[in-house]
Symmetry: none
Subunit: 219 residues, 4 copies
DNA sequence: AATGAATGAGAGTTCATTCAT
DNA sequence: GATGAATGAACTCTCATTCAT
């Protein structure tokens, strides 16, 4: 749990510490990050850190929580204006990839929680999935998508996003094992090559689609 | 890179070290594991470790390599006898979940590579995906599945497996965000509840299915 | 040296601080006690502490001083009504043991002064001994006790009280090295088992006794 | 618990560490002593310390144990040749005072155990007392001393020694509250002024004496 | 009179790695 | 081939004390 602020000055210090932690964790990972590096970057004394956080793990958890909100926000942006479920899906994935692309190191922080603070990671994924489930259920009620168990589908979609994001956003567009014919130039819709993004959406469209998988999603 | 063996005695010591490392990494994670705990478990002196491995990271890499082979073996078991692509897929996922269920801690080791030795993780995923791609391409040539980019599809499938495995194998069958109506009793096919497994296969069947998503996969 | 009071409000704050310090030192010992724990218990800000005391050591000294008075008071209670020196002695020891039994942790605070503030301990013992000396000298003048050097006798008596108190009050009645046949049930006179108390008084009676050391001390 | 040696080299390092700890604890007290000061004095690296001791407390305990033996040895020296119990007592006290005088700071280490490792202090006193009890019982069987409970008597004697030793050995011969007529010059028998020592022995002689307490103690 | 945020020195402890034997 | 004693840098965290408000 956090601690001491209350005053405006304290609140400011806390924010600086949190921001510094974000950068340091992103740059070095949890283990290599040190509290002293964080305080140094924040421009405060080492002891000050412990006025605001109980431990190194405590800031980490708070950070994951914070990132969870930002990721979810990035995902829901644009999804609101979507008229079909697949459009919403498109927007969600695009938002997620964009966030990952803009803060590649940061998103690694979230994933590192699996080894640092498992409960935090669980919470992170669970919250995202919950949003998904609602949307899927709605689309099912509207007869827009197939009647697959929305929970299972939500986790599957989550996995697709994580893996495609890791492969094409984090590792970059080329690299070993890269999808040969992915077109690195075009990238209007998302941080992932258009071709990859489109194929992924075709995959998802087929999975969720009613009757046949022709939902599509041509760019 | 490794070092010294050559003799039979040396080869044995090396194997013991590797096995000890497997247990210690599985139990404590990379950071908390210590070389001395490894050597202690292996029953050799601390210095001996450096006769066989250059560093702590070195054994870790070798371990990930080793696990990669075992996971791929678990996945391809049974897939060989499959007559359709979806059957092969079923067998592959079942093998993967079984492996994860039997060595839950071990598979975490692989995933931790993202933060310890990114190249090793890349290699791990890439190799698995390569196998997939071949199979998918073949099925496409046979007109059995849709003509989606096999690379993209392979990574998507990989992501589904990882996420479903984490959610239902690693975290257990219940817990927050659990699939409400999943049937925890039956579990003939895999380490994941039958219902979840079946729904996942329906999802995949739809994604890969030709024309309509009729692949299905009722148990 | 202390500081700021003067007003009634200040005097009250000071008392609360002192009382809080007493509890915190008793519970944790000097080193483990922290100023912040003291102020927290007192319900005042951390800075307030330094308005009343120069340092952590300063409160400690004041506390030892305070305890010295309370111990001496406990010892002299009842001793006043005594008609013989040995009766007075009895009452003094009983009072000391009672105090120790009622505030076991507190009396440890006094003893810890040896390592924290040696001068304070010296003062503590010296003051107690001074009272003794006067009484012993008087009894000698009255021909009631032997003509032993009262200073030496006083320190010896002090040592007996401390050690018997530590052994039977602080450590409890049983334990290793316990006086085998001590009767734990009866305990009318003091916090030490009756048998132990009586034997101790016989010991002292012999030491101080005129002519022969026989007798005395039967409860 | 200790650890690693076995080799002659290790045994030597261990001894150096122990000796360094003795000096550092004696000079600064437990709290102010730091492991780094100990290793510095021992001329080894900081990490080496933890090869031989589990913690700072661990060396401390071992040291108290060690001192216990040395004190008991100092006390029993000379006592062996004694023909009466009181002579043995004399020799024991003299040995104790001598030890305290020769290692004044060291003996404080033992006493500090009350606040650092209470069990160790208990053990220390209990062991010494046990030796006493045997001697006293023997003397009683021989009809040499009064039939006082030997356990109570032993703890009382222990207390006398500790207090007189603190007052006249540790604090020095003069000082506040000093025994006015103590003769600082003569000091043949012990580290305590002769007069004090003699008076103390008279006190003890009276306490233990058969029939009358009048004898003894002449220097 | 009172506050509490800020400090920074320093504590105990761990560990990957080296190297003389 | 094997050992294990030795290292020292680095870590997280605590705390008495100060001082602007």
């Amino acid at each position: 749990m956090s601690a001491a602020p209350r005053t405006a000055r304290g609140e400011k210090t806390r924010r600086r510490l949190l921001e510094a932690a974000e950068h340091v964790f992103a740059e070095h990972g949890y283990t290599e990050a040190s509290v002293s590096r964080i305080t140094e970057r924040a421009g405060v004394g080492q002891g000050t850190f412990y006025l605001y956080f109980d431990s190194k793990l405590d800031v980490f958890d708070e950070l994951v929580e914070d990132l969870n909100q930002r990721v979810r926000h990035a995902m829901s942006e644009g999804a609101r204006g979507a008229s079909t479920r697949l459009e919403a899906e498109r927007a969600g994935f695009a938002g997620f990839f964009r966030f990952t692309a803009e803060h590649p190191a940061l998103y690694r922080v979230v994933r590192e929680a699996e080894f640092v603070s498992p409960g935090a990671l669980r919470m992170h994924y669970t919250r995202i999935v919950e949003g998904y489930i609602d949307g899927l259920r709605q689309a099912q009620d509207d007869g827009e998508i197939t009647d697959i168990d929305p929970t299972v589908a939500a986790w599957a979609l989550m996995g697709i996003g994580e893996m495609i994001g890791m492969r094409w956003v984090l590792w970059g567009t080329g690299g070993d094992g890269a999808g040969g014919d992915a077109d690195p130039t075009a990238s209007g819709t998302s941080a992932v090559p258009d071709h990859v993004f489109d194929e992924m959406m075709r995959f998802i469209g087929g999975a969720l689609g009613r009757g046949r998988g022709e939902g599509e999603g041509g760019s």
